[in-house]
């Protein structure tokens, strides 16, 4: 039986009528990674309650699910989100973490209502009259460590009870975010939210997931295919809705003249989509398609080298861990691996070897994509037409395609974007991919991977 001591409550939570405020996550250690301070944790435990030990997760959970869900689009939920956004944008301690700033902007009142409106536009019914599903269990990914907040916000807006299992690997931005949420939860005006939303962490070998899944009305499963399959295998109630966000890949498309004419602009937008989460988010582009129409081969190569030199500069100037010492060595290994597997161009494939590296491929293949682990590596595909791009995306793991970001320069080549949009529509059967402007690949929307979250997280 899973006992409470296997679970770290990362947010204040009601156990046996008392609020337990265990905050096992403390500020950063020297290595830059957050640590779990066992002494503080043990102290909180011993002080708080011998009885916590006696109660199993099941007992706590059966109490928790008796809590009445909140109304959908409840004003307090909006206040809370607005407050969270303001704190993220105002407090200087978050400034070094672009993913937190991006989150702060995304949660701003104006943006949030835009996102809700755009989700509404796609259908007839009034989402305000929706009812919460009940308990939503979130299993969040470790590589994109603040991503959990977006899907949680969707569920919060609908009024569900949420248990968010946060991966045990800690990053500074994740710790800061949880600390901020905790500080807000501690305010009495947010008590209604705090008592319905719980952040936990536990060892993945623990049987806590099984116990939570048995009671969940919906499961949000982020992570790799294997992680998702592991959670999915756990039994649920018959009506439980599953949302799986498994392995995906994303690409960016630019035309040769866009690179030549606005190299700085392209570099900045590409970097924005790459920097956060070490290029490991599914929507970060890993492949850069270049449509070669006007530039000669050698000119284009020169332009690409200049583009990646700019990206390397941005990586070097990054205040986070981009300038890490081992990164280029990882790229060297990855490039040599691709070459051994004959997965890159046979001749002269190396475009850049630096903090951001690039290698040109003859064709996009599953093998090449499987070997990509983010960290600032670009596969470059130089092609002569948008048809080739669409053909390739339609044949190489089309089901895994997530975001296609396009550098649309109105005055230069709007046709490319149109053409891609239509060609992909014709050739790719599913509607889980999306087309975004370059630089906005990581912009979350309530339609994600084919799910309409605001509708599907509510009762039908």
């Amino acid at each position: 039986m899973t006992r409470m001591d296997n679970i770290h409550f990362l947010s204040p939570c009601k156990v046996n009528g008392d609020f337990v405020r265990t905050l096992p996550i403390l500020p950063t250690s020297q290595s830059g990674n957050a640590i779990v301070d066992d002494s503080a944790h043990t102290h909180a435990r011993t002080k708080k309650s011998a009885h916590i030990y006696k109660h199993s997760l099941e007992t706590w959970l059966s109490d928790f699910i008796k809590t009445q869900p909140l109304p959908a689009f409840y004003s307090l939920s909006f206040h809370f989100i607005e407050d969270l956004s303001k704190k993220l944008l105002k407090n200087p301690q978050y400034r070094e973490y672009p993913e937190l700033i991006a989150l702060g902007f995304w949660l701003r009142k104006s943006n949030l209502s835009k996102k809700i409106d755009s989700a509404k536009n796609k259908r007839e019914e009034h989402i305000e009259s929706q009812q919460a599903l009940g308990l939503v269990a979130h299993f969040t990914p470790a590589n994109v460590d603040t991503m959990f907040i977006y899907s949680w916000v969707a569920s919060l807006l609908i009024g569900n009870l949420n248990i968010v299992r946060v991966a045990s690997q800690d990053s500074v931005s994740k710790v800061l975010l949880l600390e901020l949420i905790n500080a807000l939860f501690a305010e009495s005006r947010y008590q209604e939210i705090a008592s319905r939303n719980v952040f936990v962490s536990y060892d993945k070998l623990s049987d806590a997931s099984q116990i939570i899944c048995a009671k969940a009305d919906a499961r949000m499963m982020w992570g790799g295919d294997a992680s998702v399959a592991q959670i999915q295998a756990l039994p649920t109630k018959s009506h439980t809705k599953d949302f799986s966000f498994a392995d995906k890949y994303s690409v960016a498309i630019v035309s040769d003249n866009v690179i030549s004419h606005s190299i700085e602009n392209i570099a900045q937008r590409l970097w924005r989509d790459t920097q956060a989460f070490q290029q490991q988010a599914c929507s970060s582009p890993r492949v850069l398609y270049v449509i070669q129409q006007e530039t000669s081969k050698s000119e284009l190569r020169k332009a690409l080298k200049a583009l990646f030199a700019k990206l390397a500069q941005m990586a070097k100037a990054d205040k986070g861990d981009w300038p890490d010492i081992g990164r280029t060595n990882e790229h060297l290994l990855a490039l040599q691996n691709l070459a051994v597997g004959q997965l890159c161009c046979p001749d002269d494939a190396l475009i850049a070897l630096n903090l951001v590296s690039a290698i040109s491929l003859d064709t996009l293949s599953q093998d090449a994509l499987d070997r990509h682990s983010g960290n600032g590596l670009f596969y470059v595909r130089v092609v002569s037409s948008t048809e080739i791009v669409a053909d390739e995306l339609a044949t190489c793991l089309p089901d895994k395609l997530q975001t296609v970001s396009i550098a649309i320069e109105d005055d230069i080549n709007p046709k490319i974007a149109d053409s891609i949009y239509h060609l992909l529509g014709q050739r790719i059967q599913h509607e889980q991919y999306r087309v975004q402007a370059l630089g906005e690949a990581l912009d979350f929307s309530f339609h994600w991977d084919g799910y309409d979250l605001l509708r599907q997280l509510a009762k039908n």
Partner: protein, 382 residues
């Protein structure tokens, strides 16, 4: 042993044979030099030519190697006139992911598996008779600079079964067997359970302590299973001269705040007459080792070179600048391991001017490259 054998080369291809013979000729002339005698430009010319020959030879013999160098041209190397820094290198972990071979499978004489960090697949290094013989020969030359030509009574700080490779031919076994050649009357200091066999050690010093002795073990083994135990059991020994040769890296000792100086001191207080020499070498380049001179500096022998590369773009660093260590070796013809980018950090202390009198570069090793997160989507549910 003969070094002009070309038995394992597909003799029907004269170009390959010629490439191999060109390499052997250069190697022979290097072999005729005293191990630490070549200064900067002479070394770049002689060793550079040998390693360039090796590069070209492996390009014809190893398809994977050929593909790599066709695809990846290093531009960051061409910044100076020296030959050695311009030779393309392989990432050391590539040997863990691919079996890179320049020989027919019938020619495999020994397979050396490097000790992988836990959880990693160990590298498989394929040796033919020629490469293996070359490794022994070069190791002898380098070690004799320190040990002299006499074979000394030898105390091995490990168990007999590890030394004999009963559980497989690991890097530990390879190291012990390579070094055992320099000793006689081998005594194994540890029992199978890694507890010191004090009786055997006592007997060793009683019998041979009046003259010079050779003691060899891996740095961590010596510290963990000999020195710490000796301190605890209050054991001390003495020899007229105890040459302690050790290798294997400091990673495990860093946690205990044990550095080279502490290690040396501890050796001296346990064994009177100690003279400690650490050496640095890769399982991927057995034989051409970097050994400490009497002043405690690691030196590159004529058969090998050390280069430091800047971590962010792998360009060549200045002397004194900390970076990633690249090692080059004139030895391997059975696998393309002549130029390897390690995952160790280090810096060059000087070149041709060490007060010990040895020529070439001397340097220090400063630990491992900090690990970057390479988790992909597949390990997300951490």
């Amino acid at each position: 042993m003969s070094f002009d054998s070309t038995d394992n080369i597909a003799s029907e291809d004269p170009a390959k044979k010629a490439a191999y013979e060109a390499y052997l000729q250069g190697f022979q002339s290097l072999l005729e030099t005293a191990p630490f005698s070549l200064s900067k430009f002479a070394k770049d010319k002689l060793l550079g030519a040998v390693i360039k020959d090796l590069h070209e030879y492996h390009t014809t013999q190893c398809l994977a190697f050929k593909h790599i160098h066709q695809a990846i041209e290093f531009s960051s190397n061409s910044q100076n006139d020296l030959l050695l820094p311009s030779i393309p290198m392989l990432a050391v972990r590539l040997f863990k992911q691919h079996e890179l071979s320049s020989i027919e499978s019938e020619a495999i004489f020994k397979v050396l598996s490097s000790s992988g960090t836990s959880g990693q697949t160990p590298a498989r290094i394929l040796l033919d008779r020629d490469t293996s013989a070359r490794q022994s020969k070069v190791l002898v030359n380098i070690m004799q600079t320190i040990l002299g030509k006499q074979r000394l009574p030898m105390l091995v700080i490990d168990s007999e079964s590890v030394a004999r490779g009963r559980a497989g031919f690991s890097a530990r076994t390879a190291g012990i067997q390579g070094l055992s050649f320099f000793g006689r009357k081998h005594t194994y200091a540890l029992n199978e359970d890694m507890i010191p066999n004090w009786q055997a050690i006592e007997a060793f010093f009683a019998a041979h302590g009046k003259g010079p002795v050779l003691i060899f073990g891996f740095t961590f083994m010596i510290w963990q299973y000999l020195i710490k135990q000796a301190k605890q059991d209050k054991r001390q020994f003495a020899a007229e001269k105890a040459l302690i040769i050790h290798s294997g890296g400091w990673k495990k000792l860093e946690a205990e705040k044990v550095d080279n100086a502490t290690f040396k001191k501890a050796c001296e207080s346990m064994i009177a007459g100690s003279q400690v020499h650490n050496f640095y070498g890769m399982a991927e380049q057995v034989g051409s080792i970097f050994i400490e001179c009497p002043l405690g500096h690691l030196h590159a022998p004529n058969m090998a070179e050390v280069l430091i590369r800047r971590p962010h773009n792998l360009s060549l660093a200045e002397h004194g600048e900390t970076g990633i260590i690249e090692v080059l070796s004139a030895l391997p013809s059975s696998y393309p391991g002549h130029a390897i980018l390690t995952e160790d950090m280090g810096r060059i202390l000087g070149e041709d001017d060490c007060p010990c009198g040895w020529k070439g570069k001397y340097f220090e090793v400063l630990g491992r490259i900090p690990k970057v997160e390479v988790r992909g989507c597949s390990d997300t549910h951490g």
